[in-house]
């Protein structure tokens, strides 16, 4: 089974390694931004929250920045969060060396309709959630097993036929990954994921 495709979960875990904080004496004035060794080779995964004017083309600007400069997008979600102020929140999960992550933030900050860029990964704790719809086809034991696992994962059944279920699951990307992995041998047919939405903890 060695050549079996590795599940996204494993890749995710591998990426999640953070380089150790290298806190220099006397550098307390600065935020966590300046504490990591900028030119390290370690690949880090960061969640960025970008507040933008909801104007035509703004998403294209952000995506164009990532493709034009060769940055990674692991996940991206966007929606208007303030209808009166016409502001949207873009949540981007991205991977790169600390230098690349700093560049991404600085480049995002340069886009004219971008108001704020927050790196939730370094700015204290944050909560991350993703919603996923998962269609599973099957009968007999497999169908029962799928339902039981859904219950354990607190997934809801939002559509049902005699041969299939559509589950709705909400949680961290890791939890969604784990649930999808479990559904695969039980008749997984189709998956739709929203991508990560994230907020910092506290005020």
């Amino acid at each position: 089974m060695d050549d079996a495709p590795r599940s996204p979960r494993h890749i995710w875990k591998k990426k999640k390694i953070m380089s150790p904080l290298n806190i220099k004496k006397g550098s307390t004035k600065h935020s966590a931004y300046n504490l990591r060794p900028t030119f390290s080779d370690v690949q880090e995964t960061h969640t960025l929250a970008v507040l933008v004017d909801n104007e035509p083309g703004v998403l294209a600007r952000v995506i164009g920045l990532f493709s034009g400069r060769g940055y990674n997008i692991d996940s991206l979600t966007v929606a208007e969060v303030d209808h009166e102020g016409h502001t949207s929140r873009i949540t981007i999960v991205t991977t790169g060396t600390p230098q690349v992550i700093e560049q991404i933030k600085a480049q995002l900050g340069r886009i004219v309709p971008v108001h704020e860029v927050h790196d939730l990964t370094v700015e204290g704790g944050s909560v991350e959630r993703e919603l996923s719809l998962i269609k599973v086809e099957g009968a007999g034991d497999k169908r029962v097993e799928a339902l039981r696992l859904a219950d354990i994962f607190r997934a809801q059944v939002v559509d049902s036929t005699l041969e299939s279920f559509v589950f709705q699951i909400t949680g961290t990307p890791e939890k969604v990954d784990a649930f999808i992995d479990l559904m695969r041998p039980l008749g997984l047919v189709e998956v739709a994921r929203t991508g990560v939405a994230a907020l910092s903890r506290g005020v």
Binding site: G57, Q107, G109, R110
Partner: protein, 584 residues
């Protein structure tokens, strides 16, 4: 009282409110209403170019020679796509320009209409920001905002796409003063704590060097003045990128000359050997740094830049200062003076005597030939014969550009316009036109190579039409000189397509355009020929036949650090390793 007017009239009104008196453009179906308004007024002078790329480069030349934003008006579709090279050029060199494009009417957008292109989509990555205006009521606000974005922070090109129905429709004009100020307000004052750190470093440094760039020019004449004051007061040597020439005078005694791939020996070795590097408005471009892991290994680096994304982009900075060069230099001077104007005099003296030894190598020396005009000689003579005049130089891109940077001296900012970041062949001719429009009485010379010059030579028509006495000084080696040089150094002297076998007769070409042509091929005639060019009251095409196989030195081969410079022909064998070969 609100003012009602058509979108087309708003364009003209907004330009006037922004203090614009010069527009470079080319009409077409989708901008006819705006051209009709231009026809019916006198405040704004429109210069008809021969190609939209020329319009943008002319606006760039105008902007760089004046410090004001350049304005371009072109039509939809091909008009807009032809402007793309100019926009990218302005983005790379941080030049403030405002490009107005016509667009097919809003109800036809997306229907593949005649001369329709997704202009905002195409120009999104090559503008600082762009707008498609679908509502006449919003047009004037967007135009004012466009000028604000183009000129504040790190300057750059912006584009406003205006559909034809928006130009015809009537709406409310918003005054410049009443336009809602956007949140786009870049930081201009530097962090005082880091500035103090830098001043401390200046006080103790043994081998400091100023490495200055286009940011000093962009910050305005006051920034150049402050830089001069700081350099004179501290006695620290100064070098500059291609973009920053003129911020510190070439005749200044602390001047090391340009640095970088074709920079001067003393400048590059000072960069390599320094213990404190003060980067003022430059961006550690790959033409400057050479091999990154061997770039100035022993130095602490300070970096003053208005764009946070320039900090730590390629080179790790010890003292990052985000802010406008002018403001930051002022603060540095203030703090340095308040702390007692200290420098490490003894060490500086030693540093200077080391620099003098490098200087003694005289890396720009060459032997004039009696038979052919060597390009270095041509520029040497041009320099001598134009010295002391209010002189503006534009260039094309290639060997001649590097020689011009090496052999011409610039005493003041805004006198040198060249395509640095993008390296756009065909930049110089239209840029010279833009400069001459801004300074009708000044001497404007485009130092060109024949290959680059041919790329936008149609603009001579513009020069003749508006009686702009631009001098096109073409150093004609019948080769794509820089390409040929690289083929010689890197590709076994296989000169693949790097020469033209069908060059025009430039003198006849000049006559065809209705201007003066001069041919010079004998070094003995050169001075007289140059004087003839300078004395002629009108545009001149000067065909200067130069040595065909001259290489441009000094040169840092790509993939090598500063201390591995090549000084001349003898040292070029296998100069570029396989690692360097993949770089440009």
């Amino acid at each position: 009282m609100t003012r009602q007017m058509t979108g087309a009239k708003m364009v003209v009104q907004a330009l006037k409110d922004q203090g614009v008196d010069t527009v470079f453009g080319y009409p077409g179906g989708a901008v006819l209403p705006i051209y009709d308004e231009i026809f019916q007024q006198n405040g704004i002078r429109h210069y008809l170019v021969r190609h939209e790329q020329g319009a943008v480069h002319a606006a760039e030349g105008y902007a760089r020679a004046t410090g004001k934003p350049g304005v371009v008006l072109v039509t939809s579709g091909p008009g807009a796509t032809n402007a793309v090279t100019g926009l990218t050029d302005a983005l790379m060199d941080s030049i403030p320009i405002v490009v107005l494009t016509g667009q097919v009417p809003t109800f036809m957008i997306g229907s593949d209409a005649f001369q329709e292109a997704d202009t905002v989509g195409i120009t999104r990555p090559c503008t600082k920001h762009n707008w498609l205006v679908k509502d006449t009521d919003k047009l004037s606000g967007v135009l004012h905002e466009a000028f604000h974005v183009a000129t504040t922070g790190r300057p750059g090109p912006v584009l406003v796409d205006i559909p034809k129905d928006v130009q015809f429709a009537t709406g409310t004009y918003t005054e410049k003063a009443k336009t809602k100020v956007s949140h786009y307000q870049p930081q201009v004052k530097g962090d005082m704590e880091t500035i103090t750190q830098l001043v401390e470093a200046i006080e103790t440094a043994e081998r400091p060097v100023f490495y200055t760039g286009g940011g000093v020019i962009n910050s305005g004449p006051a920034a150049s003045q402050l830089l001069r004051e700081l350099v004179e007061a501290t006695g620290i040597p100064i070098t500059s990128t291609l973009m920053g020439l003129g911020a510190y005078p070439a005749s200044g005694k602390h001047w090391l000359g340009m640095l970088g791939m074709h920079g001067l020996y003393e400048a590059n070795l000072a960069m390599h050997g320094c213990d404190l590097m003060i980067n003022v408005g430059a961006r550690f471009d790959d033409r400057i740094t050479g091999r990154l892991d061997a770039f100035s290994p022993k130095s602490k680096k300070a970096h003053i830049d208005i764009d946070p994304s320039s900090i730590n982009k390629v080179i790790k900075t010890d003292m990052p200062i985000i802010g406008d060069v002018g403001h930051v230099l002022e603060d540095i001077l203030k703090v340095w003076k308040a702390r007692g104007r200290k420098v490490n005099k003894e060490a500086l003296q030693k540093w200077w005597s080391q620099i003098e030894k490098w200087r003694a190598v005289d890396c720009l020396k060459y032997k004039p030939s009696e038979k052919t005009i060597r390009p270095q000689y041509a520029l040497d003579r041009l320099e001598q014969l134009t010295k002391g005049r209010d002189r503006y130089i534009t260039t094309e891109v290639g060997q001649h550009q590097m020689w011009a940077a090496q052999y011409l001296g610039f005493e003041d900012p805004n006198r040198w316009m060249t395509s640095g970041g993008l390296g756009t062949m065909g930049y110089g001719t239209p840029a010279s036109i833009g400069v001459q429009v801004a300074h009708p009485d000044a001497l404007v010379i485009n130092v060109a190579g024949e290959a680059s010059w041919l790329m936008n030579m149609q603009e001579m028509g513009t020069a003749v039409q508006y009686r702009l006495p631009v001098k096109q000084f073409i150093m004609n080696n019948e080769r794509l000189g820089m390409v040929r040089q690289w083929q010689e150094l890197l590709h076994g002297e296989r000169y693949s397509h790097s020469w033209s076998e069908a060059l025009p007769d430039f003198v006849k070409l000049a006559e065809a355009f209705g201007c003066k042509g001069i041919l010079c091929k004998d070094p003995a005639d050169l001075d007289d020929a140059i004087m003839e060019m300078l004395d002629y009251d009108g545009p001149v095409i000067f065909d200067c036949l130069v040595e065909k196989h001259e290489n441009c030195f000094p040169m840092i081969p790509s993939g090598e650090p500063h201390n591995k410079m090549l000084l001349g022909e003898a040292s070029t064998k296998d100069a570029i390793g396989s690692k360097g070969a993949v770089m440009v």
